[in-house]
Structures are given as structure tokens and as C-alpha cells.
Symmetry: C2
Subunit: 389 residues, 2 copies
Amino acid sequence: MVFTGWPAPTGKHLSLATPFPGDRPLLLSSGARLGPVQVAYETYGRLDDARGNAVFVCHALTGDSHPARHHADDTPGWWETMVGPGRPVDTRRYFVICANVVGGCAGTTGPWATGPDGAPYGEAFPEVTVADMVGVHRALLAGLGIRRLRAVVGGSLGGMQTLEWLLRHPQDADGFAVVAGTARQSADNLAWNAVARHAIRGSAAVAAGPVREAGLRAGLGTARMIAHLTYLSEQSLHRKFGRAPRKGGTRTHPSSLVQGDFAVESYLEHQADKFLRRFDPRSYLQLIGAMDHFDAFAAPDRLADAAAPPAVLLYSFASDRLFGPEHSDHIKTELAARGLTARHERDETSDIGHDAFLLDVPGFLATADRFLKDLDLRAGARRDDLVTS
Amino acid sequence: MVFTGWPAPTGKHLSLATPFPGDRPLLLSSGARLGPVQVAYETYGRLDDARGNAVFVCHALTGDSHPARHHADDTPGWWETMVGPGRPVDTRRYFVICANVVGGCAGTTGPWATGPDGAPYGEAFPEVTVADMVGVHRALLAGLGIRRLRAVVGGSLGGMQTLEWLLRHPQDADGFAVVAGTARQSADNLAWNAVARHAIRGSAAVAAGPVREAGLRAGLGTARMIAHLTYLSEQSLHRKFGRAPRKGGTRTHPSSLVQGDFAVESYLEHQADKFLRRFDPRSYLQLIGAMDHFDAFAAPDRLADAAAPPAVLLYSFASDRLFGPEHSDHIKTELAARGLTARHERDETSDIGHDAFLLDVPGFLATADRFLKDLDLRAGARRDDLVTS
């Protein structure tokens, strides 16, 4: 395996699987074939003898296979509040699996990876969809010998994967928890991704070679700043930064190419810089493209095989200006029209915005905890039924 | 006068004045001197014999001296709903003046203009403030022999100029109408400008020469898209575009440098392209810098000389996600603390967002019309007083 080009994972904590036996290529939704496909994943906890305690965690746009620290890697993960010992996705109780999505840049095959001609795919990487992401997750599970999950859990783009999974393969899990998710992006959501795309493409369009690469990365920084702002509410920006000046900064000239004058600007610049160290602009274009084209209920025949309907939790945050409660309401309505009752819990306690799902919001975490424990009870009752009958 | 570099006005419809007699340089708020300063302005209607019927219109971030068509130029202006025969700022009744702001790129001295060394100022143009813009407007009025205005009217950055004018020189006009304005940008406002600044600077930082110019312009396109989205509400984007595909478009590859797939994306790209034909990235950096640093009530001694307090109208739109009603509430509170009563009218009828102030919103236009006619009545009564006493 060769990592080339943009920030590549060190690989030291990752398990790598080639989920399609015999290096069979993956048939993508677009009709293109991609392969062989390698998947970077991490697991937590122990699979029980019945292979029935697995929980799959789907990551968001810029996530990876590392939601929480574990024995082999104590780097903090992106969902420490949700995953770990004593957390709702309790690694003492569950066998937890998290995998980098196809098209990503944290170990799973994506634009960074070496293509059939020995060079990185780069922009030649075929278009992937949310359905393709779920397809690769399922192939990984098959490779691990897991036929049924206790739950699938994901927020934001992870929530979109969870919803897609529910609609295509409702029999795969006892429960699905879609957090701060959407069934399809609004015009406003599409518009912000359009600006991000323009920033990345536009910066790159003006030059070639190393200057073009630098342009792509400059654009990716801008894209990250845009995304970051959609993840936070006006109120939380006001509370955290207000109009405070940059720490230790002096006022700069408006045309200078140095840093901006305000604390909020300094914070966003720092976020952009940090992001460039770990993300690939071509992956970013792939993943926001997948988000934009996701339209969960566009196909009419979904949920056709939901003989034993799974439990569905939709969780939203009132302060979320990306995928607010109206997105979850819409999912609930569409599911109901297909005969599936979902529970929608709307958080009014956090003013953080979209990012609340990654943070310590007690009501949210308690709801997730109860949802998973209820699934355990149902699964226990089902096993008892089998034993007594 | 030489226009060099970026999109320069043709100048054919503009009056040009050098408002500082004897080419005396302008002392800027920063302490720097700029000069000579030329001002591009347009006038509408006739100044009455008492020189008492003048209304000054302040333009917003990307505006110019042409709010409406007139006898010498039938190009539609940027505020046709507000300015013209039979409009609230009635050109049959008022002598209307509008001037491009200092630092701008539509005729008034800005980064595009030739500096003392014979080359365009470019990034060496000194930092300007909202106070500097008002200072140049006032110098123009002095040059035109107008000592008192019936009203100053402006929206957005024009509203910020209007507020600054009110606080520094309340005796300059009978009334001030601040539309969709703010006394100081919020953390969220600052943050979006920070992203715009990063887009422009970042694209340019990666190269030199013509590639750098192209990068500045690519970044300016991104900045325009960001700004445009803050000018529209989620609801209006949904109503106008939803998830409709680009007209006649086919789905494109996520990494390609061609246009995006959705109607809203196509619309934003079109807005960016149009903007590049008329705006200068260095002016943009100047003007958003002036917006960011504007803090109307930071100086404690404002309004000290408001012996005969002017009438003040604050108008806001509930759907405005840039400068919503809370910004006007804040202005009203701060004015009240300084002994000046302002009226704040909040529009709930338009779902357009910030841009509503430029569009045909009947309640808004009727309010502006009434405000100006009341000023006329007050001025008439004052004249009658003078005659009878």
C-alpha cells in the first residue's frame, strides 16, 4: 500500500481490509468500477459469541475511523462523548466498528490512493455516493463475519449514511440513530457547498503544477472556514468571540496578506490551517458532491422489505443552522409515509449549532444511551423468546 | 484621469469632483494622507432656490453613484424602487446626490486609481473607514454649496454611513434613515468577511504576477458568492431554486473544474462572474475592512451637539440573516442612551432576507415615503415659523 500526495494517514493504528473477496472491484452507483478497494477501520470492545453486539459508527464529512481513543491509540477521537467505556456507545458492552468512507483520505481508497496505472487517482477518482459508502461498510461487515448489527449510529454525513442504510437494508440492524442528519440538502445547504467547491476549483483553475496544488489547498482552507461557520450558531460565535481582537494582534492593513484582526478570524484561520494538515481537497470535492446528490426518498421502493421494522431515532438541535429540526421532521414524515414510525427528539438546550452532536450535551447523550439500552432489552427479550419457545 | 487595472467605470455618466480645494490631501482616520481625492457622483432632480431639498443616498458594499436611471443614463440603477419620479426619494421633489465611496472602484479614488508615483495604488492604498467615506461625502456637498440636507438615506454599508453621519454631524440633515444597517458587525458578520478575505488573500498568496491577479479575482468570485448568500434567506433560496438541477445541465464529475450541477450553484456562479466584470478585489478588501472595524458607539462623545435633534428611522427585515432586527434594536437603544429617540420599523412581510431593502417591498417603501414627507412638512413648518415670526 502506498500513500502518496496529500496528508495521508500514518496507518499505525488502522486495520486495513480489502472487503471485496479476490480483489473483485466495487461496482459504484455511477456504474463505474473501482478496485481493489481497501478499507481503514478501527474496532473497540469484544464481539460476543452470538456476534450480536456490534454497533457501526458512521463518520461525518471530515471524520475518520477513530471516533475515540483505545488501547492501541490514545489520540482523542472525534466522538469521545458518544463512544467509549460508560458512554452511550459503550465499548464495554458493544463491539464498535468505525470505518473511513470510500472516497475519503484517512486510509480507505480515495483520490489519494494509487490507481491501476500506478499513479494516485487524483481527479480521475470515480464519483462516489452515500450508497457507495454504505455498500463498502457492509462489505467490511461481511468480511468480519457480522450479519446483524445492534445499531447504526451517525451524525451529519454520518446520519445520511445511517438513513441510507436504514432505507436499503432495514434488516441489517435492530436500530438506526440519525443525528443532525438530512434526507436531502436544502437549497441553502447546496449553496454553501457550491461556494466551497468554487473556492477549491477556482483557486486551482488559475494555474498548473505546484501552484495549482497550492491553489487547491488554499481553496480547501476557505472551504473549511465556510463549513465551520455552518457548524456553529450565531449565538455561539457571539458568546465565544464577540468582536474581540486577535490575541496579541495589532491592526493590519486591509489588503495585506497577513492574518486578520479579530479573534473569530484568527480562530477560523487556525481551523483552516489544521484542516490542511489532514485533508485532501479532492476527497473534499468527492464527499460534498456525495452529500449534494444524496436524496434518500427519491427512489420510491425503499423500505419494501421492512418485515420486522427496526427502531429509529432522529435527533436534531434547534440551534443547528445546517441540518436543523425541519430536516429531521421531513425524514420522520417520509418514513411514516412508508409505514415506519420514527421518534424525533429535538434538543432546545444547546445553542452551539450543528457541532452540538459532537459535544457534551447531556440530554442528547442520555437519549442516545436510552435508545441503545432499549435495543439491548428488545434483543434480550427476542433471545428469551427463542429459548422458551 | 487614468483608469488602470481592474474593471474601471467608463466615466461617461459620472460627474467628477475634487472635493478638497487646491488638491489638499484628505486626512484619513488612520492618520494617513490621501490626495488628491476625486469623487464620482450623480445627481437627480433640481436643487431649489433655498438649497434645502437635497437628499444624499449612501450606497452599500458593492454599489456605485448610480441608484437609478436618469436623463443622461438609462442603465437601471441599484435602488430603482427607492429613487426616481414618484418613488420615496422622489426626484421630482428632491435634489438627489449619490457618490461612490472613497476606497471604492466606481470612479472615486480607490486602489484602482493612480497614486503619487504614477502607478495604481493597488495594495498600497491606505486603509479607509466609514468615517472617511462620510468625510468625503461632506466635502463633496461643501463643494456643491449644500449646507443642510433634507435627509441622508442608506442601506447596509450605506446604513452604516448614514448612522456615522448622524452621530458625527446630526445637524447636517433633517432626517436620517438607516435601512438594514448595523452599528457594529456581530461575530458572525465578522466571520463571513474573514472567509471572504481568506478567499481573496489565500488565492493570491500562492503565486505572483498575472497568476496572482487571477487568484485575487478567483477569490473575489468566492467572496461574492458568500456575500450573496448572506443577503438571501434560506426560505427565499428554497422558493427560488430548491434542489432543481442546472438548466440544461448534465451531472458533472465532483473533481472537474466545470460548473456545478444545481440551479442554485449556477446562479451563484453567474453572480460571481458578473461581479468580476465590475469590481476590484483590492477595493473589496478595503470596504469589508471598513465594515469590520466600524463601531458607531465606541466613541463616548457622539451626538454631543444634537441641539435640534433630527428624525431617525431605523428599518429592518425579520428575514435578514446579515443585519436583522436585533441590529436596529441595538442602534435604537444606544441612541436612546444618548438622548435621541429613533423609530424602529421591523418588516415581517418579506422573506427575501437582507436584499429586501433593494426590492419592491410595499410596506418598507411606504414607510420611507412617509418618513420623507414628514420631513418635508416639518421643514415647511419651520420655514413658515421663520416667515411669521
